[in-house]
């Protein structure tokens, strides 16, 4: 019984991290119509930057904030200097993000070395929580809470603010949004930075669970892709639901069928593609 409870909590925690990763990926894809292949690398970059920040500031939450800002600034540079240059050449934009992902991955290897570096769990959360006869790792509970709070925050941002309305308009009909005077260009940078910040902060918050290691980017990117295919491009709700579905399938897959955990990830994707190619909550097919 303890096994199932713990694995369920692990699934929820992984799902929460995946939401931080895929929410930005999905919004960028929905608005700019590009698959940002740096996203896994930004997650890893966040984790490594977190390692360095924690050496100076021994507070994980502050590190997540600072690291998120640093990765957002990096995202702004990519968007402004490179993606912008390629205009409507969508394939070119995607390939440039792929190139940058390789550069980031190799740079991380140079700077931080090849050994996995675990981020320390905050002291207050190191003791497991005992509730109704079960023990829970309390850090994971907090990760779930953070993800849910972020989801609510993003939802309010999208549904209740002016900028959110502009983003939604851009996702639904870019040309019309431009025509009614929405500054689409500035919106692109904003959303790209927001996505990068979420990915970077996610890498740091995930650090105590996943640690920072070379290949973290290649592990996370396909999960983000599958979640967005599953939930639907440009949909926040889709990213949320998809993250937890994949979190569960992946965690239980690794626990019960470690050899084939990756193959099991196929199944939800195939089902969705067969019956609903635009994803569970998507408005258009990718």
């Amino acid at each position: 019984m303890q096994f199932w409870v713990i694995q369920t909590l692990n699934s929820l925690a992984l799902g929460g991290l995946l939401f931080l990763l895929s929410a930005g990926f999905s919004l960028i894809f929905g608005l700019m119509r590009i698959a940002n292949l740096t996203h896994g690398a930004l997650f890893m970059l966040g984790a490594y930057i977190g390692v360095s920040i924690l050496k100076v500031v021994p507070n994980l939450w502050l590190a997540a904030l600072l690291g998120g800002l640093a990765v957002a600034a990096f995202g702004a540079v990519i968007e402004r200097l490179l993606l912008r240059k390629l205009g409507s050449n969508v394939l070119g934009q995607v390939l440039v993000t792929l190139g940058i992902a390789f550069i980031i991955a190799d740079a991380c290897l140079v700077i931080w070395g090849g050994d996995p570096i675990p981020l320390p769990t905050p002291q207050a959360l190191q003791r497991p929580l005992t509730l109704a006869g079960f023990t829970f790792p309390s850090y994971r509970l907090v990760v779930v809470v953070i993800a849910i709070v972020t989801a609510i925050g993003l939802y309010l941002l999208m549904e209740r603010t002016r900028i959110g309305a502009m983003i939604r308009a851009g996702v639904d009909d870019m040309d019309m949004a431009r025509a009614v005077g929405i500054p689409v260009s500035r919106l692109f940078t904003t959303v790209f930075c927001l996505g990068a910040a979420l990915a970077g902060a996610g890498g740091i918050i995930g650090g105590p669970m996943l640690s920072a290691y070379p290949g973290l980017d290649a592990d996370m990117l396909p999960l983000a892709l599958i979640i967005v295919m599953l939930g639907g491009v440009g949909s926040l709700v889709g990213a949320f639901v998809g993250s937890f579905i994949i979190g569960f399938i992946y965690t239980f897959g690794v626990a019960l069928l470690p050899d084939l955990a990756y193959v099991i990830l196929f199944l939800p994707m195939i089902l969705v593609l067969a019956f609903r190619p635009r994803g569970l909550f998507g408005k258009f097919a990718a």
Partner: protein, 315 residues
């Protein structure tokens, strides 16, 4: 000079090369040939079908793993493992094609990437079959008709024959009426379907055909290295194939071969001096996409023209 003369010169160079060049260059050219088959198969999808694949390394790795596993674990001979590996990989390509072609454009790119990453992750984790990060070692090269291929030169000629046959068959495919229909689905899918062509079927057949040639390249790859590691299935490997096509000029017959040569030469020279191949790969990607989107050869020609024009204006 016309094309036939160039082809004869190229043929003389390729056939005569081992008599003049050292073993290092013979091996390098062998690797270029293997990469050229791979790039040409990516080009079928990207150049002629307008389908950007980022998961083509899946077929290279799968064929290599299948042949290695059958040889090591079941002790089968090469003349049995090769056809099984090719057939098995082509079957997987049939299934992957059905999934990936639910989308076009970026959706297709993401699906091919996700599918190949699933295989990559499985190769790492299914240790009982793939030996995980250690890779499968202890392989041998086949000896067709009793000819020993262990020497660099012998294997070079073997790879050359396979490559010429592969490129020729892919060129035939593209030149056929089916190839014309494929280019039609790239440029005007809706008109093609209005004309009564089955666009989905044309794309799927091309996908499977490209997967098959990816598998051929994978077999040569595993024979050459006598070793296979999950990295062959990785995104980096798929990206190298895509880069070769874009660098050489997609949708042309010679482009991917030139591109494969550029990528392999760069990779070999760089890795003898520094370890930073992946970073360079990333930079080359960015530079080529930003400055030479139509390939290196037209890109340089354009830069040269601009330079000439600037000099002429100064006069």
């Amino acid at each position: 000079m016309n094309r036939a003369v160039w082809l004869v010169i190229l043929a003389v160079l390729l056939v005569g090369m081992p008599w003049v060049a050292g073993e290092f260059y013979v091996n390098l050219t062998t690797q270029i040939l293997i990469a050229a088959i791979f790039a040409a198969s990516v080009n079928l999808l990207l150049g002629y079908g307008g389908l950007p694949t980022l998961g083509h390394a899946a077929y290279v790795g799968l064929a290599a793993y299948l042949s290695a596993w059958l040889y090591l674990k079941l002790g089968l001979a090469h003349w049995i493992t090769a056809p099984i590996a090719l057939a098995g990989t082509t079957l997987i390509a049939c299934a992957f094609g059905l999934i990936a072609l639910r989308a076009t454009g970026l959706g297709f790119l993401m699906l091919t990437l996700a599918l190949s990453q699933v295989l990559w992750g499985t190769a790492y984790r299914w240790v009982s079959v793939t030996d995980g990060d250690n890779g499968l070692r202890g392989l041998t090269r086949p000896a067709p008709f009793g000819i020993n291929l262990d020497g660099a030169t012998a294997f070079y000629y073997f790879a050359l024959i396979v490559t010429v046959a592969s490129i020729w068959l892919m060129a035939k495919f593209v030149d056929s009426p089916f190839g014309a229909a494929l280019r039609g689905t790239r440029d005007q899918p809706r008109r093609m379907s209005a004309l009564g062509h089955n666009v989905g079927m044309i794309r799927w057949v091309t996908f499977v055909y490209a997967g098959f040639w990816g598998a051929v390249s994978g077999l040569l790859f595993v024979y050459y290295h006598k070793y296979i590691h999950p990295v062959s299935l990785s995104l980096n490997n798929s990206a190298e194939g895509l880069l070769a096509v874009i660098a050489g000029g997609s949708g042309t017959l010679g482009g991917p071969i030139v591109g494969a040569a550029i990528v392999m030469i760069l990779k070999n020279y760089v890795s003898t001096y520094i370890e930073r191949w992946n970073m360079l790969l990333g930079f080359v990607f960015v530079v080529i996409v930003v400055f030479m989107p139509d390939g290196v050869v037209p890109g340089f020609r354009r830069l040269l023209l601009r330079w000439k024009a600037a000099r002429w204006r100064k006069k």
